[in-house]
């Protein structure tokens, strides 16, 4: 689980060009959107594509995404339970 959380942090920093952040800056329970990392709706689309491409998880319900992308910890748990890749 710790490896997956580390992997997600690295992917998010790289794919969303979060140049101001390092892996160490992102706590497992930090909010990804809003006051935390400050991600927005375009980033949400990037994360949805990443989930599909890298883990074989297709999100179709926007409400579901809101909960899944709450933090790295929540996202890692969801991927562990649902990944097809």
């Amino acid at each position: 689980m710790a490896d997956l959380r580390q992997e997600l942090k690295e992917k998010i920093i790289e794919q969303l060009n979060l140049e101001e952040f390092t892996v160490a800056d992102i706590a497992d329970d930090d909010a990804l959107f809003g006051d935390g990392l400050g991600l927005d709706s375009i980033d949400a689309l990037e994360l949805i594509v990443m989930m599909d491409k890298d883990y074989g998880i297709q999100l179709t319900d926007p409400k579901e995404g809101k909960e899944i992308f709450k933090s790295i910890a929540v996202l890692a748990d969801y991927i562990t339970d649902n990944r097809a890749k």
Partner: protein, 339 residues
């Protein structure tokens, strides 16, 4: 009909033209196939949140536009008009490569959204919260000139008082390199590096103490070498300017075989100062606004940089400048300035 005045001119180029108070005093010699621009500290002009998604062309465009508005003391222009030949080529390459590598699946939105030619105009407007007229022209080496002509028409017809107009180009990573390889294939091509940059201007219908008048401009998709002199003479006649009144002639020489157009037009200006600039800016579809920026600075400062001299001497009393640019024997433009 209202007249058109340039209130500010800003360029980001391969030279130190953005942050420096000087005017091409310290020249960087350009060599190689491609040369990147000297990028400013973007954080002075763009928030980190916006900066992270922007490719180089967008960052240069937004920064140059921001400084042009500041220099002209304008917060909200009545129109934002941009020109670009290749558009946001870096993001275009990214999403096209993603299509291939992902077998036409899993396309991420950011590169696609930012790849369109009007991204720079849109990002400037978003930053300013400006809902005014916003247009982008893309027609190879006339992209900036069409944008400037649109601005000219808006001002002359009193549909706007202050217009932000500019051109930008970025090198990207692949496509421009392929174009350079094609250019070098026969050894007769462009003899300056390919480069990139962004030049923005605030043009206005109001004259100020420091403004430079855009007397007129003309564009032609194609002209033969036999008729280029007559076309230039007709342009000057239309504007009641005699050949002898022109103080400085600035041409877009890049060393290729089509410099013959410049040689022919230069025959009309044997006794005046002739300048060139693409050995300083490099060549790209919107390199010509670098020439316009230099012309503005020459008239504003009454100073000619040594590095721009192609023929003739540096004179101090210059009032009318003619710019002529073409690319590969096509996309000709004349721009006439006065101060």
């Amino acid at each position: 009909m209202k007249k058109v005045y340039i209130h500010s001119a800003v360029t980001i180029s391969a030279q130190d033209t953005f942050d420096s108070d000087g005017f091409l005093n310290e020249i960087k010699g350009l060599s190689g196939k491609t040369v990147a621009a000297r990028y400013p500290n973007y954080k002075d002009y763009i928030t980190p949140a916006n900066l992270r998604r922007m490719a180089e062309g967008v960052k240069m465009g937004v920064s140059a536009a921001s400084k042009a508005l500041k220099d002209a003391e304008i917060t909200q222009p009545d129109a934002i008009i941009t020109g670009t030949g290749m558009g946001c080529i870096d993001d275009t390459e990214k999403f096209l490569n993603a299509i291939i590598s992902n077998d036409e699946q899993f396309l991420t939105p950011t590169a696609f959204i930012q790849s369109t030619h009007n991204t720079v105009g849109a990002q400037i407007a978003l930053g300013l919260k400006c809902k005014a007229y916003n247009n982008t022209y893309s027609q190879a080496a006339l992209s900036f000139e069409w944008a400037l002509m649109d601005a000219q028409l808006l001002l002359q017809q009193e549909e706007a008082e202050n217009v932000l107009v500019g051109g930008y180009e970025e090198l990207g990573k692949e496509i421009i390199s392929y174009r350079r390889m094609m250019e070098d294939a026969d050894g007769l091509g462009i003899q300056v590096p390919y480069s990139e940059g962004a030049s923005f201007f605030v043009v206005s219908s109001e004259k100020t103490e420091h403004s430079v008048e855009l007397i007129d401009m003309e564009v032609y998709s194609s002209i033969s070498t036999e008729s280029i002199q007559d076309s230039l003479k007709q342009f000057l006649t239309k504007n009641d300017v005699d050949l002898s009144e022109i103080d400085v002639f600035i041409s877009g020489r890049n060393g290729d075989v089509f410099d013959s157009y410049y040689d022919l037009t230069a025959e009309l200006f044997e006794n005046i100062t002739q300048l060139h600039y693409k050995h300083l800016s490099g060549e790209f579809y919107t390199a010509s606004p670098f020439g316009l920026w230099a012309a503005y600075e020459i008239l504003y400062r009454q100073e000619i940089p040594e590095a721009m001299i192609f023929k003739g001497e540096i004179k101090s009393d210059n009032h009318i400048i003619l710019l002529y640019n073409q690319f590969k024997g096509r996309d000709h433009s004349f721009i006439l300035l006065k101060r």
